[in-house]
Amino acid sequence: MVTTITSFGRSGTFDWLYQRVTAVLLTIYTFFIVGFIFLSKDFGYESWSALFAHRWMRVFTLLALLSTVVHAWIGLWSVITDYITNLLMGAKATVLRLVIELLLAAVAVFYTAWGIEILWGL
């Protein structure tokens, strides 16, 4: 048992499941958005803002945004803990990892807050 405190859900099973659930959600959202852009007859500002006037679309988009954050965190956390290890570069790896994780967290919070602001026009 390896103890980690910066992984998304602490448990590997939890992270694994959320990585997959968010991937499915992001796939559906991507197909929906791309489909909307290419399949609507008169795509433009009117149809775009009409789409986002629906509450379900805003909630769907928020879900996709949160999924991106979760998916990115789990994925990038794996990459960081693979390539920036104490085994490879000694004690400075701990500092480097923590700095990158804090940076990623800041970016995640920023985009989430900004996304909500855009979606609900606060």
Binding site: M1, V2, T3, T4, D82
Partner: protein, 234 residues
């Protein structure tokens, strides 16, 4: 003439590892790589490698043969040599003790973690703990592992985190005991594997399946462990 290029390193005399070239007359025979090494050792007694049974049972002579991990004793030259040249290196990722001999400590540490023995606190019956043929069948493809480390040392996740990721060999054995109808420690075993490293560093690239000299499938076993972990968690 067969050209053989071998990784040489003696920490007592060499500053850095280097590749040494040898030539050998195989007399047209399709020798096993281990035979080639034995013939070269007769030429140069300082050449070091591990070997024991010479028939793919003991798992001592795992090494990187022309870029692919395998057992020297069961790999014929016709499979391993390219354009009359054979390149031999130690198993990747583990510390080199000398030449083709690696320090397997990290590998065994991971094996130890999965508690590779039957755990059953129920008093044993007079003769033996019985299994149905179906229950026994579940262990096929798992118990045959000879711990040669070819799979784990072909796994990038094991290269990066040999202290945290159990690795394909250890996980295959972990599943061997999870799947055993006589073992009672299933829940404890799963609890010890439910972290982001031990099992979940496997991203299913199947290098392990590709190199296993016994034709085993650690990726499938890891998939089974994942499903067991998921089933008890949701």
């Amino acid at each position: 003439m067969l050209k053989v290029s071998i990784y040489r390193y003696n920490p007592e005399t060499d500053k850095a590892p280097y590749m040494q070239d040898y030539e050998l007359d195989t007399q047209g025979k399709d020798l096993m790589v281990l035979d080639v090494l034995e013939l070269l050792k007769a030429q140069d007694p300082t050449l070091s490698f591990r070997r024991s049974c010479r028939e793919g049972v003991c798992g001592s002579d795992g090494m990187n043969i022309s870029g692919r991990n395998g057992l020297a004793c069961t790999t014929p030259l016709s499979e391993a040599a390219r354009k009359g040249k054979l390149v031999l290196r130690p198993l990747p990722g583990l510390p080199v003790i000398r030449d083709l001999v690696v320090d397997m400590e990290q590998f065994y540490e991971q094996y130890k973690k999965i508690e590779p023995y039957l755990q059953n606190d129920t008093p044993a019956p007079a003769i033996e703990r019985l299994q149905s043929p179906e229950e026994r069948e579940k262990l096929d493809g798992l118990y045959e592992c000879i711990l040669c480390a070819c799979c784990s040392t072909a796994c990038p996740s094991f290269w990066w985190n040999p202290d945290k990721f159990i690795g394909p060999a250890g996980l295959l054995q972990a599943y061997r005991f999870l799947a055993d109808s006589r073992d009672e420690a299933t829940d404890e075993r799963l609890s010890k594997l439910d972290d982001p490293f031990s099992v979940f560093r496997c991203h299913g690239i199947q290098n392990c399946v590709n190199v296993c000299p016994k034709g085993l499938n650690p990726t499938r076993a890891i998939g089974h462990i994942r499903h067991m972990l998921l089933a008890r968690a949701v």
